[in-house]
Symmetry: C2
Subunit: 214 residues, 2 copies
């Protein structure tokens, strides 16, 4: 996928959280609301269950021409024909994932410049950088703030999406800080209406970037 | 790997269990005792930790010319250059693993004839069949007994290893029932001396099969 297209697909990146909503139902709603990418993030489930859910999400995202990425599990990503895998610091190294699956988009979570530069050098296709704000999803996550985010963003060439505590009230600040996209969990998954919460983000993104097709 | 060589490599198949012993140390001891195959089986650890331990087990098994198989996690198997992956009924389907990694040995756990025939048809390279006896490792495992084991063994062409409650006292019964090898966890991992417990199994296997090189 060309960098420009990938960047557009990363604009509204919604991450599943079964402690807030069941995956299939919430992904459907998020896609209806205009999510451009879905990350399947499941812990404490069997591989078989991840595989079954992943296959369904592959179908749903394909129908909407949205990106489908699997958190951590490269096996589930390959088995469900995902577009990519997203790796954190407790997952496989980026370079190893790239060697095993050269055709997958590999994203990496980073919260500092050194790790961001290393991930880019190791072949990451995009970065998830944060937490830009305090977040209820990962209470122990390091909050780096918008200045550090900006610094990382301008130091790498690959697309950078912001994550951590982003809501409808602060998303514009994040976009002004240079984010190519935003990753959201609780702002969408904890909302009463996932579709509406997503659509509200999409509207802000479209008016910021200009609603050129993506 | 040719079927005859694989069969020999599956003779003494030792599975890790961190609730009994740390992986690296116990694998070293099992290999010194004559294990022909090691299965890395870890639950509740980060992928990074599995990767680090797996790389070390890859080195140790290579030094001893032993087989190295990863339970469940095809990503960890690929990342650590394992010889194979072992799949249970809650893991990826055998056919999917074969599609993703055609060069890996794929083993499948089965406890009935129908599942055994399906696994073979789907491309499994060997079967782990049991529990042949009651076992403390999986208290909820179905105990199939030696007659059912025999029936499955003679119904498939691929190598079949017996698993579940095998100890130094009953291993000969299992071999007489036609097992190409035995898989052990607690009989080795719960022993005070892992190396000695493994060596004792190896001696019985060697005298049963004849000590032709493997």
């Amino acid at each position: 996928m060309k960098k420009k297209l990938l960047m557009k697909k990363l604009r509204l990146y919604v991450i599943t959280d079964r402690t807030l909503k069941p995956e299939i139902e919430s992904v459907k709603a998020a896609l209806e609301g205009g999510a451009t990418a879905i990350q399947l993030r499941i812990k404490n489930a069997s591989t078989k269950e991840m595989f079954e859910i992943g296959k369904k999400i592959r179908e749903l995202t394909e129908e909407c021409n949205a990106l489908y990425v699997v958190n951590d599990r490269l096996d589930v990503a390959l088995a469900t024909e995902a577009d990519g895998v997203h790796l954190g610091s407790n997952d496989l190294p980026v370079s190893v994932a790239k060697r095993i699956a050269p055709d997958l988009i590999v994203g990496a979570s980073t919260n500092n410049l050194e790790a961001a530069l290393k991930a880019e050098a190791d072949g990451a296709d995009y970065l998830g950088v944060g937490s830009v704000f305090p977040t209820s999803t990962k209470r122990d996550a390091k909050v780096i703030g918008l200045e550090n985010f900006k610094n990382i963003k301008r130091s790498v060439r690959i697309p950078v999406i912001a994550i951590g505590g982003i809501d409808h009230g602060n998303v514009l600040e994040v976009l002004k800080a240079g984010a190519d996209g935003i990753a959201v969990i609780s702002a969408v998954m904890a909302a009463e209406d996932v579709r509406d919460a997503t659509a509200k983000f999409r509207k802000i993104l479209d008016s910021f970037f200009g609603n050129n097709s993506y």
